[in-house]
Symmetry: D2
């Protein structure tokens, strides 16, 4: 029945004419065909159902912030919160305004500035190469799939064109909230964002946050809870309230069009469609998650 | 076991020296003894456990925004969202900044400006007296207790001293987002905030949001889900992210020191302690809810 | 020659098709015919040249803030600056944002919030009736003309429709920066704004700021200098920089379409045309002052 | 008499104990002895009076923005204003907030972001070396003194430590308001700021803005007027209103402690003292200019 629902969902989503706009500030992403859609769901019984373009690799971009936060909490625990906050932001994902108002402390680890700080922390006692290897190991272990790589060309491209991220990094540096040189931290950050995964892989990689990955114990149950809370309140930038209202379970989007979402104890879900809504979140991906939530009563706010 | 835990919790909370500051901008609230603490929990099996000063009536203040929203969604459904948003705010509960930036549309129904708009909507085709009677009926039905009243003296006092709320109301009026005269809407709003309840009553009144009140069906299941989502992302003002992170289930605080919180499908909880933390939320109440969440694994973000 | 220039100027201005938009938030002002233009110049030799609709009375609105400031500095000297600042604002004349950021201290006496504070100060030891009589005496003495009155109907209308000013007043009250009740101070403020003057009268009334009114010595030379400085940096709201750049001498505009401007030691000028530019300053009035400044090299920034 | 006054002023200023704080974010500037003070005045009759440490070279820093603007207006006239505004800012000289609110258009050419844009424009059809040579030629011609140089060490130091300026430059780049690469424009900007001059030289260099330099005609009279207007409304950052109020003639400060000021048609003045007030303007320099203005009635707002 879930399979039938997802088959139908993927078919309907493939036919929607209004698909949002592909991110255009990164040349490589601007070229992606917006007529793609994929959905994949991992369940507690170990089964996985995937539909649509679920085996096409895409750039996970900001979804990587979740993996970075998992590593960061694992290594630094509450000390991480000295450098980054835990509150949603009213401003866009790449805003500098919050940063100036809060004296260089990003509001949360899922806005760009906050994620850059987390990456900077991960470079403590690690070279960029080591830090990235550690992250890839983590993501591969989470997905149970070693065929996950970084798109080096994309990382290089973002390094050249990601001027706003450079602005954020230098602001953090001027506020004494960046330990390493901007190019070291940002170089690592752009590589982390350029991890490529398929929708199938991404759904599997989210199982550790849904409590479905009992084998690996990648992070503590306490950190799972913390990350899920942050994905709920901050995972979709200044559209997070709307996502909580419509979908009702934690998720994290990326400008590549992917969203990783978890229904604690029940399911790990990935959706992908490159067109973005005005908040920078996948337009069809958000709609698909809303339909899934409605159909299966998966909102954590629902009274079953 | 839950009873033992709550007994111990109430005893420990009664002894905490650092209790926050009682709201001082409303003379009547400033006089409340901060050395009070109460907790009450309603469970799915119909039982209720209360400890501490659970039968002392207190002013529910902003907790009333939840009941107003329930009535507003019931009467106007999605049309309510034309006049008020669904996103958390980075600013304080009484901030005017958001209102000016968003052209008079409050960010959510739980900041003061948003709640004033909801009350204004509730006055459609109702006199203030009728609207307040309707709200009292709703709250009494929810609590299953007719002995719930409005503190008229407090309402009058707030009418005279609540200058910031008058500023918000006139701003809304100047933005064409207030249908009635400011004094009509604010008069009703101040009365609604001045509803007095005990902790025991408040816990019972929250059952409809936890899905424990199968008899009354006060509002649709869909609206329950919507309200819970908004309490999660916006229920504690600019401390909402922190509350989601630490406690992990929906709740709404009031400057009277009360918090009503729900664990969907499991429990309805009320805590009360008059001292407030820097966000204007009950200091001990927040700590108590965090302990309850930890002890019972009630965070919706936890993987059971 | 000046007369010829002004004759020509008035004729050209009367024919300009793009005249800006008449203030529409005050019903009485919305009805004014935008096809009016007047200019009047008082010179050091005592002569006055007027052209266009120079004898049509209009509502001076915010130009009255200059007279209020003159009275306020006369009575309270530097103590006035405890309650209001001296810096230009990036926000609109009726903005609440600045007020919240600066804890209730308006940035300058020419934004609405600042002027309301000055009026509130003028009510110290005066009833509204006495304060308004004092202001009328001052304006009449400055203009050398007793036929200057308050438009009571307009004042009453603003009292009913000026919701944004009520919002500002209540914000000031909530910040402990309003000594009197909002309705007392605002009632006085709306009456002060509703002073009616002709362009001829207004030019004469500005002579004390240009140093041309040696007889009356209405205020100290030091206060003249202070007021002129504030008119230069703050007299045209968030268009003040542009006015200083284009015109180059101090001036104060009102939403009635009038501008009073002074060339220290040389001239007092009034222009009037009801259509406003996007900053809320008279569109043709600003252009006319720019032409006068260019033609006569009257910018204080010019090197003669 | 002016000489006597300045002698006395320099002596008194040398003895003031509260001298403000030396800029500490540039290591080279942090080492300057704060117990220095200099004043120099050029008059219309060609005389120059200097007192105190008037022959000690110091880093002119933001005073260089005036020379850059003079060159920029000379080359691009009004086209310059497509990229930068003419309004004062409520925020600090190095704020990013304004930039984000105004979509990457700096509010004026005297905040850092605006000056970086002007420098970027000056690099049109010039290499950094050529642009800097052009600026040095301009400054030397203005001062009538070829012994004016750039402190290369300081420029290099700022290049390494001026993180906030890098943040601003990258923000401009991300807003398509920077034509050249950030390092090219900023490298030039840091060199321009590192021009070293004595107080004597700086006073002479300001004569073209006071109309005292009839020989050279470095820029048009119209541009002189424009620059003076901008120095009045924006020359002292978010302390510009205060400067206009207290001093009353145009000036531009630098974090090196220098201020160049002009009394149109009458005098060109330079003051220098390294300690800064809370706006980042020379504390004693500002006080000295206020005393000069008061003693000589040089405020343009005064009625002589």
């Amino acid at each position: 029945m879930l399979s039938d629902f997802l088959t139908d969902l993927a078919a309907r989503m493939a036919a929607v004419p209004e698909r949002g706009a592909v991110a255009d500030y990164i040349p490589e992403l601007a070229r992606i065909d917006p007529n793609q859609f994929a959905v994949s769901v991992c369940l507690a019984d170990g089964t996985q159902i995937s539909h649509g373009d679920a085996d096409v690799p895409f750039s996970i971009q900001s979804v990587s912030k979740v993996f970075a936060l998992a590593l960061g909490l694992g290594r630094f625990a509450d000390n991480l919160w000295i450098r980054v906050g835990r509150e949603p932001s009213s401003n866009a994902f790449n805003s500098v305004v919050d940063l100036e108002l809060e004296m260089g402390k990003p509001r949360n680890p899922f806005v760009n500035a906050g994620a850059i700080v987390v990456t900077d922390a991960l470079l403590t006692a690690r070279s960029p190469r080591e830090a990235l290897a550690e992250m890839l190991r983590f993501v591969r272990a989470a997905a149970g799939d070693d065929h996950i790589y970084i798109d080096e060309e994309l990382a290089k491209s973002e390094n050249l064109t990601g001027h706003r991220n450079w602005s954020l990094a230098y602001f953090l540096k001027s506020s004494d909230n960046l330990t390493h040189e901007c190019d070291l931290t940002l170089g690592t950050y752009f590589h982390q964002c350029a991890i490529e995964m398929t929708c199938t892989q991404l759904a599997r990689a989210g199982r550790f946050l849904a409590g479905l990955d009992t084998k690996h114990e990648l992070i503590s149950r306490n950190n799972v809870r913390s990350i899920n809370a942050l994905m709920m309140t901050c995972g979709h930038y200044d559209g997070s309230g709307e996502f909580a209202y419509r979908v009702g379970f934690p998720g994290k989007s990326g400008v590549g069009g992917g969203i990783m979402a978890v229904v604690p104890g029940i399911a790990s879900i990935a959706v992908w469609s490159p067109g973005l809504n005005r908040y920078g979140n996948s337009q069809l991906g958000t709609i698909a998650l809303e339909e899934i939530s409605d159909a299966l009563n998966w909102s954590v706010f629902d009274v079953k």
